[in-house]
Amino acid sequence: MTSLAAPLAARPNGLWQALATNRMAWIGIGLLLLIIMIAVFAPLLAPYDPLQQNIAYRLEPPSAEFWLGTDSYGRDVLSRLIYGARVSLLVGFVAVMIAMTIGSALGVLAGYVGGVLDRFIMGLVDVLLSFPTLLLGLMVAAMLGASLENLIIAIAITEIAPFVRVARAPTIVLKQRDFVEAGRSLGYGPMRLMGIHILPNMISEVVVLGALWMATAIRTEASLSFIGLGAPPPTPTWGSMIREGFENILDAWWLTLCPSIAILLTVLALSLLGDALRDAIDPKTRSERS
């Protein structure tokens, strides 16, 4: 808990220093930037229209014409893979942003107000944690119906709980600190105290957790799409590409292998970055590294 008392200004520097000397973090950042660039410039990079079907070129193996082959509708796998990066990153990012906003707001509220409200919010967290993540996502997505928006909502719900926890604990400590007390005696309202005086003091922890959980969000998105609860066809997503390619796994290996590697690299990049950020922010593991 003493780490919370560290002056705010001293921390970002330490964070950047710890990140800069961490080789794993650079690999993660580099890989992630590459994937983001691919997603942003998808229309320029993709050799074909990802939705263009061509029965004459069904299940073509990788060749000079189709670098990663074609699927059972004759669509170019490389182009679908490139456009698929957009869906994965979008779903992962938006879902985590929603979970982060709702979760940390609830966490600060629970820690600041305390009492019955605290018990109620933490009870909600316990309930969320009692469902296996994938099954909760599956259930919500199934109940709401398969669409990109519902998928994002489903994934966001599975990730609220950790943010509540990470925001609540420091709030309980911070609300007793002198600067919050001073604000209170100046007549600042609770919203202002929570939003301007307490929340900024834990924002780095929340953001680090966000990077870590974005990896999970992308994994959940891929899993739900694989099960058939993702963005409806013909939207190219990595999970649904694997799902479709799975039917031809015995004779068209490229249909499952290529999107699998794409998912793996994206999650790995985010995990590397998230791990490095966590090490940088937690003095205990940082000193262990040196």
Partner: protein, 313 residues
């Protein structure tokens, strides 16, 4: 200990009821008429109203809610719309398959993960440690179905070492074991990555303790020092974390079963989704959440057994 156990059990009751409420609300989020969704577009008006009566949808919401709570708490998890069997029967039919898979993976995870984690901690910042850290990160990055598919492509389809379908319903125990190997290793290696990571950091924490230095100074042999003084104390956080992993394990086993086309809870859920069997889905959700709650209680109790200090809290 008994008092601790009873207290822990009582604490789970509000969570249980809140969980059931959440499932109740969730199922009622289905847009439109659930009866129509279940029966499809072709359903006649009579069968629709019969279905509504069967589902209790003609009752006021609070009656439905109390009915639902009563049913679930008395162990009546509902009836599958498509097969007519109760949810409990459905689960019992496929549970041995899933248990076989998950237990095998836990064994693999512990047998490989514990020694590797201890080794990495002892060789901290040397190559075994770095290699282990990279491998466990890669292992944790795999969504379970992606690693399953890669294993299927390499070991079953390319090398033909294992059958493509990860179950041998009619075969002898040897054939069964052969078929189980790939799915079990898929889940087991993910678990290994997890256990190894936790063991490493827990061992690193323990090895800095004063009693370790004292034991070393007393001349306790290295093996005994690491196992009896080190690992035994390091086990406490490992137990908790393995308990917390249970929910992830369920999700991963569902995905693994789907890829390897094994009978089990995964295929049951997929079937319920595809036939829009919401009552089965709802029952399964409750069963799974109950499992997680029970495992959480067990984890806390084991924690109390491993660490005598916990009991007196």
């Amino acid at each position: 200990m008994m008092q601790f156990a009873i207290k822990r059990l009582l604490l789970a009751i509000p969570t249980l009821i809140a969980m059931l409420t959440a499932v109740f609300v969730l199922v009622r989020l289905v847009p439109g008429d659930p009866a129509a969704v279940m029966l499809g577009d072709q359903a006649s008006a009579e069968s629709l109203s019969a279905m509504r009566t069967q589902l209790g949808l003609d009752q006021p919401v609070y009656v439905q809610y109390l009915q639902f709570l009563g049913d679930m708490l008395s162990g009546n998890f509902g009836v599958s719309m498509s097969s007519g069997r109760t949810v409990a029967q459905e689960v019992a039919l496929v549970l041995p398959w899933t248990l076989q898979l998950t237990l095998a993976s836990i064994v693999i995870g512990l047998i490989l993960g514990l020694p590797l984690g201890v080794w990495a901690a002892l060789r901290r910042n040397a190559w075994p440690d770095y290699l282990g850290r990279v491998l466990s990160l890669v292992g944790l990055s795999f969504p379970a179905f992606v690693s399953a598919i890669l294993m299927l492509l390499v070991f079953a389809i390319h090398l033909r070492w294992f059958p493509v379908i990860g179950s041998a319903v009619d075969g002898g125990w040897l054939a069964q074991l052969h078929a189980l190997a790939l799915p079990a290793f898929n889940l087991g290696l993910i678990m290994t990555a997890y256990v190894m990571r936790v063991t490493r950091s827990s061992m690193l924490g323990v090895m800095g303790e004063d009693y370790m230095r004292t034991a070393k100074a007393k001349g306790v042999p290295a093996m005994r020092l690491v196992l009896r003084h080190g690992l035994r104390n390091a086990l406490i956080p490992i137990v908790t974390v393995v308990g917390l992993y249970f929910g992830t394990l369920i999700g991963n086993s569902v995905l693994t079963e789907i890829v390897f086309n094994r009978p089990g809870l995964g295929k049951l859920i997929l079937g319920a989704l595809n036939t829009r069997d919401y009552s089965l889905l709802q029952g399964l959700m409750v069963v799974f959440a109950c499992c997680v709650i029970v495992v959480n209680i067990l984890t806390d109790l084991v924690y109390g057994l491993v660490d005598p200090r916990v009991k007196f809290k």
